[in-house]
């Protein structure tokens, strides 16, 4: 009763592609690869230009500084990726970081003998607890994450302010073993950066290769469909916020170790930078696509921009403007690449493999 299909004859023939077993990497995956590559190129160009102007930019000390400088943002950006991929956003990370950093300092203040691993665990747990508050409100009350985390951005920061009430915790209040964590290097690579690297690798691998990781993409891609396919959306979203909180907690502890000086304002305004890093790193703000590697590269790129502007002695008044312009350029470039890939996709017919 219906008309037949244009592709019908060949479909009916059932010709399978020639090598069904050895698949090329999927188109979707290649799209990511392109994004990450473009980020790497941008990063390379930036370093190159800066080094040409000032060869000390590639000295050992300077590279160490760069790696140290980006570690915390990288960890936060990776946590944010987990959240954004599910079509949510966590604006409270800066506040969680501040709260945890101050808590870590207070812990050492009240119990100076605390070994640093304990502090680390306590900090991560506190971050996870904050994340659970976010996740609980979002998953249980079924409300937009942006609104809730904007609320907890204020609330957590308020608690932090309230608790600190203007006090400051100094490096002298914390044990040397802990502070060394923030500055030490292993084979010339800062410990902090190694921690970040482990986080990136773990999260990146998880998102790509595990069922529950793929389900996060599914949720972000089409939440209603995810529910109908039996994915426990509420639980996954909750978990993702707990994970983001825990990573922000980890970042908070590392922040305390690295900066030594802590007051309640630590990490203020960091949230927009984190979101910017993820977006620059190719994580689609509407969920469903992006990788932890990309977000980490985005974070590295943003911090490197900051450092290289300082090294290039760009007029300080211009620096922030340049950062803004570069963010725009990065997302614009990313968009251009995406369009290219989409065009190529359209070129191939739906049916021709």
């Amino acid at each position: 009763m219906s008309l037949t299909d244009a592709g019908a004859p060949e479909r009916a023939a059932g010709n399978a592609p020639t090598h069904p077993g050895r698949q090329r990497r999927s188109l979707t995956e290649r799209l990511f690869a392109v994004r990450e590559l473009s980020l790497l190129i941008a990063l390379g160009l930036l370093v190159l230009v800066t080094t040409v102007r000032n060869d000390r930019f590639l000295s050992g000390q300077s590279i160490k500084d760069l790696l140290l400088g980006c570690a915390i943002l990288v960890i936060l950006a990776v946590g944010q990726t987990l959240v954004i991929v599910t079509r949510n956003v966590d604006l409270s990370v800066g506040s969680i970081l501040g709260l945890v950093a101050f808590a870590t300092g207070s812990l050492f203040l009240s119990a100076p003998a605390t070994p640093w691993p304990v502090a680390l665990v306590v900090g991560v747990a506190l971050g996870a607890l904050c994340g659970a508050v976010n996740g609980g409100l979002i998953a249980v009350a079924r409300v937009p994450a942006l609104v809730i985390t904007l609320g907890t951005l204020y609330a957590f920061r308020g608690v932090d302010y309230y608790w600190a009430s203007g006090r400051q915790i100094n490096a002298a209040d914390m044990p040397q073993s802990f502070l060394r964590l923030g500055n030490q290097t292993v084979l010339g690579v800062p410990v902090l950066f190694l921690v970040a690297l482990v986080v990136v690798a773990a999260v990146g691998f998880y998102l790509r290769s595990y069922r529950s990781g793929r389900e996060l993409y599914a949720i972000g891609s089409e939440p209603a469909a995810a529910r109908l396919s039996g994915i426990p959306v509420g639980r996954r979203v909750f978990t993702v916020f707990v994970a983001s909180g825990a990573l922000a907690g980890l970042a908070g502890v590392l922040y305390a170790a690295r900066f030594g000086t802590l007051d309640a304002a630590a990490g203020s305004g960091l949230e927009l930078q984190v979101v910017a890093a993820a977006v620059v790193g190719g994580v689609a703000i509407f969920g469903g696509s992006g990788s932890a590697y990309g977000a980490a590269l985005g974070a590295v790129l943003l911090t490197t921009i900051g450092s290289s502007l300082a090294v290039l002695r760009i007029d300080p008044f211009w620096q922030q403007a340049v950062v803004g312009a570069l963010i725009l350029a990065a997302i614009g470039l990313d968009r251009l690449l995406a369009l290219r890939v989409a065009a190529r996709l359209r070129g191939r017919s739906a049916h021709g493999a």
Partner: protein, 506 residues
Amino acid sequence: MTADAPATPAPLLVLDGVTKSFGAVAALRGVHLALHPGEAHALVGENGAGKSTLVKVLAGAHAPDSGSMTLDGQPLRLRGPADARAAGIAVIYQEPTLFPDLSVAENIFMGRQPLRGLRRIDTAAMNRDAERLFQRLGVRIDPTRPARGLSIADQQLVEIAKAISFDARVLVMDEPTAALSGVEVERLFAVARSLCEGGAAVLFISHRFNEVFDLCHRVTVLRDGAWVSSDDAADLTVDEVVRRMVGRDVSALYPKQAAELRDTLLEVRGLTRAGVFTDVSFSVRGGEIVALAGLVGAGRSEVARAVFGVDRYDTGEVLVAGRAVPAGNPGRAIAAGMALVPEDRRQQGLVMELSVERNATLARRRALSRLGLLLGGAERAEARRWTRRLQVKASRLGAPVATLSGGNQQKVVLAKWLATEPRVLIIDEPTRGIDVGTKSEVHRLLSELAGEGLAILMISSELPEVLGMADRVLVMHEGRLVRELLRAEADEASIMFAATGQGATA
């Protein structure tokens, strides 16, 4: 309750007295259903009868308010879709539920991807499995491409592949064929039959009765959420089923009246869009219904969209009543008296969160304004007029259109465009998913409108509809108009002949 024939083996899945309401709307009232192993069971009913709601209850997506379900004689409690899957119930929903950003293979195997060491996903195996499924369905879709950009038919095929990949004991399909063409439907039925032979139960929903009688052994009729009857298909006729569904006799399915032909209202000259359609020229006169026929993917919808200005075109021109309509501007097209009822109501036709009223008057928002102000009263009156005329079944005009059944949503789209009182009506798959009663209503309406002097361009994949309604049939093949047939000379064979590219150019 009429007793089911006890001859068949014990039922696999039984629903008893299932009730479900949304607010004050009772979508299901005490429905009974027994699915037997090895049996294909049809569920029919008017738009809004509650079929999809029943499906969602079976899928665990809706919790019934009361009533019980048993599987293999054991009470079955579903707390969510995951439970239904675990119990061996696979579901194809009426609207495709794909993840646009993920690859086709991942869409099929989400949550069940084949694993290798360390519980990692084995992507290669997954793509291979997907390939095998498509082979079984006889289609070629690249498993690695993202689902975004798949045509509706391909989306539906991916859904089907997903459902059969479960090797489920109960396969539920809610209008799986609405977007498919004959070959794929045949393939689907072949797969369904083989599943039945393997002892599975199939629940099949469709508004096309030939499909129902082709596939199914038993037929259950729902009306207004209530169970009406369950009988062996052999004991039923189409007319009987229709009478039970609608509660009265439905006659004159295609009542196209001859209308007096007036001046040319729509004229399309040499329209070309590289890679999509080439040199398309035709005209439609007032009072005339012209059908645009062709295979799925022939580019009919693309032509319609370009004519209306949603898509751009490279060369050519479009004239309404002799005056050129600027390209790429639907607003100007509407102002010139054109209307387009798009093929995809969810994405293109409706704003799901807005009320029936707002949707029905959206295209008339400027015309209904007085001194630039648009106050609620005018909209309400207008919406009431058109929803009455099209018999839209909605709890109230202020209800979000998302809460309407599929067919009623389609009627709202029609209402929205008819309300603009166009001179040229382009209508893409006007009756997709619409039940028989309403379908004849829509046809009567189109015929009436033509009689009032409208020029109607109708795109349809249903040949009987094309043959019944059209004064003239234009056939497209691979983006070109290949043939023009007058009502008298058009029949299934001649249209198919041209559509498959075997005829000479018109």
